[in-house]
């Protein structure tokens, strides 16, 4: 291990019990071809700073726990490798969320938005009792890309509108609302539209598009939001034309 090259990792640290603001601490971590940032954080915790806090679980980009900023760009720590950062890296907690400790953020706002848009099939119960809902490949193609979200929050860290207005329900929540609105088995659109039509629904989005750029699952939340804007506009027109 002594002959392995080392990578300089500068980590933003914050201890809520003693600090008033975060500070940066730098660690030298040995690495080989396979060392991910998550492995490196584990090495630091085991050998250099036992009190370093960070979230992780699956190590294979499916649980969505290890989101953090690397050189100012939202990344999954398990999905990036030290070999690609020969000049070292700056690691910070996910942007736009309150920092609880070191690399751990409070994602409750995102989780609340997610629950608010009812991300599940709202269908008719008798049909469900009759067996599995059938769907053609064409019907599934409409929403399939939008169903790949792992709730990692990288899109929220990439969204300047969410940074400026934490009440904005944000990319992932809107994408999931749209995913269910597009599903042929779902009948819950009426219940979701008020959330999307509201002041903090789809309209604060100015189509920066960085959310789609950073998404580790290529879900393309920016596309889902633009499509939701079309739906929201149609919903507004229909509601205003329909006799009360």
């Amino acid at each position: 291990m002594a002959d392995l090259p080392h990578c300089r990792i500068a980590i933003q640290r914050y201890n809520p019990e003693t600090d008033t603001a975060p500070h940066v601490e730098t660690f030298n971590v040995p690495f080989d071809e396979q060392t991910s940032l998550l492995d490196a954080l584990g090495y630091i915790k085991d050998n250099l700073a036992g009190d370093l806090s960070f979230r992780w679980s699956c190590r294979m980009a499916i649980c969505g726990s290890c989101g953090m900023m690397v050189d100012g760009i939202p990344k999954l720590a398990c999905k990036i490798f030290l070999r690609n950062y020969p000049r070292g890296m700056r690691v910070a907690p996910l942007a736009n969320f309150p920092v609880e400790r070191d690399l751990v953020v409070d994602m409750s706002r995102f989780i609340e938005s997610l629950a608010a848009i009812k991300p599940y099939i709202i269908g008719d119960l008798p049909a469900a009792q009759g067996g599995a809902g059938k769907q053609t490949p064409a019907q599934m193609a409409r929403y399939h890309q939008f169903s790949g979200c792992i709730n990692c929050g990288l899109c929220y860290a990439a969204c300047p509108q969410f940074g400026l207005n934490p009440e904005f329900i944000g990319p992932a929540a809107i994408t999931l609302a749209h995913r269910y609105n597009l599903d042929s088995r779902d009948k819950g659109k009426k219940q979701r539209m008020p959330q999307l039509n509201g002041d903090n629904g789809v309209w604060p989005c100015t189509f920066v598009g960085f959310c789609s750029e950073v998404c580790p699952k290529h879900v393309d939340p920016a596309a889902a939001i633009q499509q939701s804007k079309v739906e929201s506009a149609k919903d507004f027109l229909i509601t205003s034309l329909r006799p009360q």
């Binding site: 809520p16 100012g72 609880e100 300047p160 100015t206 633009q226």
Partner: protein, 134 residues
């Protein structure tokens, strides 16, 4: 229960877009609205010049031939082209089109938008030239 929580909120500075190439290009893309505003005002000015008669129109033509105005109009053209390019690339995201059980890729739509722009521009130019001849 006593909580030790004391979350730290990072401030958002007005310069939030400066440290990231993606955000800088976004600001440039949105900034193309300013040359478009300049060109719209110039067009309105030209319409009023046309209404006021030949003398006024000649003054407007002279104004258009000034090197600074020419330069600003070239900037406006470049900005309009950049805006069209970015817009055409983003526009296909606003629709889900499923053909033969597969989602349509953005490429044919982007090419279609460029062709539509070229055809409309040519038609307008041809109409203007025909009117001039007649």
């Amino acid at each position: 229960m006593i909580s030790k929580r004391n979350p730290w909120h990072a401030p958002v500075a007005a310069s939030w877009w400066r440290n990231n190439g993606f955000y800088r290009f976004y600001m440039l893309r949105e900034g193309t609205a300013i040359p478009a505003l300049w060109f719209s005002i110039e067009m309105i000015f030209g319409l009023f010049a046309l209404k006021r008669g030949a003398e006024s129109w000649d003054v407007f033509i002279g104004f258009l031939q000034h090197p600074v105005v020419l330069f600003l109009n070239l900037v406006a053209l470049a900005a309009a082209l950049l805006h069209s390019k970015t817009w055409f690339e983003l526009a296909p995201k606003a629709a889900v089109i499923v053909i033969k059980e597969k989602k349509l890729s953005p490429r044919p739509l982007i090419i279609g938008l460029w062709i539509a722009m070229a055809v409309i521009s040519m038609a307008v130019l041809a109409a203007a030239l025909l009117l001039q001849e007649g």
